[in-house]
Subunit: 239 residues, 2 copies
Amino acid sequence: MDINKIGHHISSHYNVELEDIRNSVLKMGGIVERQIELAALSFTSNDMEMAEQVIQQDDYVNRLEKQIDQACTEILAKRQPAAFDLRLLLSVIRTINDLERIGDEATKIAEMAIHLSDTEGKTRSEEYYEIQHLAELVMKMLRGALDAFARLNVESAVSITAQDAMVDREYGSIIRQMVARMMEDPRNVRRTLDVLWTARALERIGDHACNICEHVIYMVKGEDVRHMSREELERKIQG
Amino acid sequence: MDINKIGHHISSHYNVELEDIRNSVLKMGGIVERQIELAALSFTSNDMEMAEQVIQQDDYVNRLEKQIDQACTEILAKRQPAAFDLRLLLSVIRTINDLERIGDEATKIAEMAIHLSDTEGKTRSEEYYEIQHLAELVMKMLRGALDAFARLNVESAVSITAQDAMVDREYGSIIRQMVARMMEDPRNVRRTLDVLWTARALERIGDHACNICEHVIYMVKGEDVRHMSREELERKIQG
């Protein structure tokens, strides 16, 4: 797919509108990426200022979703796009919804960090390295998904969805450890649940990054690949 | 809002297309409603046949989402709708996404029921009445949301979103009980976590029902009310 396909319209204003929308998505993506980074860091390093920053950003992310949505709807009404342009706009509408939900998950993690800090004070234990690792995995996925969106790169979108299996494995391993810890000592239950919810939020972020990859594939190929198995997906893309 | 607003087109075929899409959404909604009902029942009554039925339906629900999505995209490309029709199609695209996610949550509940049945055999305890109650609350919300969608009824859409606070309260109370139970006896941890994930899935279903109400409000009023406080929402709707 040639990235220059965008901006082929006779109306130069239309070209600018589409380009603006793509740039806004990438901007929103960058903010959400930073939210995950800060949320994970606030969790592992017990930095409450960071946690507050994440929570405050949530409003801004919500507003961005509404603004971009509105811009897409206006173009749909005014320009009546078809083919690639229509798919671009529909993909953007879906992508920003996933980004907004990622922002929600980051906010939950920050809230969990604050809750943990209230209940256990300033100590942080080793299990948080695993949370940090999971956070790095899903941040890498999101970065890749946004990059695939920017470059209209189907191949890398497909390869990112493959990384979700690794996230699921890491998540499963954290859950097993947390269950063992709760069974060892009931006093661990409350704080371990916070770790567990955090792991869950990160796993969900990985799912949303996969969704964004599926939107990229739809935009470029016109193929709705949701709910496909890996094999089906690869067959579709090569075919 | 007059429900007869749909079907005002000179092209009778266009009218039929829009009506078909609305009916498909309601059909999909009915299936998903039944999925929640069966999932909750399989959980509380330990009926594994029911649980399997819910899991099997998931594929069908996914397919329905894709089909309706495709139909919406075709109309967008072919008819180039504006105003109410455009909002109708965008609301449908969002609504079926929420329905699909509700189907996913119902499937998770059914899987949890199977997992519980494997680990604890045929006994079911009292805590499940609370799960049943929470399930009834969110089913009522979803039914109301679909009804508001069918009748384009903004007032009832607004009143359903208000019910979410009750769901959150019930959910919070279940979580507190479960934490206490795990702390009482570590042998409870594994199965109590299943109850906890189930409560979480039901709470998420309530959120999706609220989302559908917001889509209805957008469709009828052209007002994007996501992330609004209750007061703002009521002001917007009355205004």
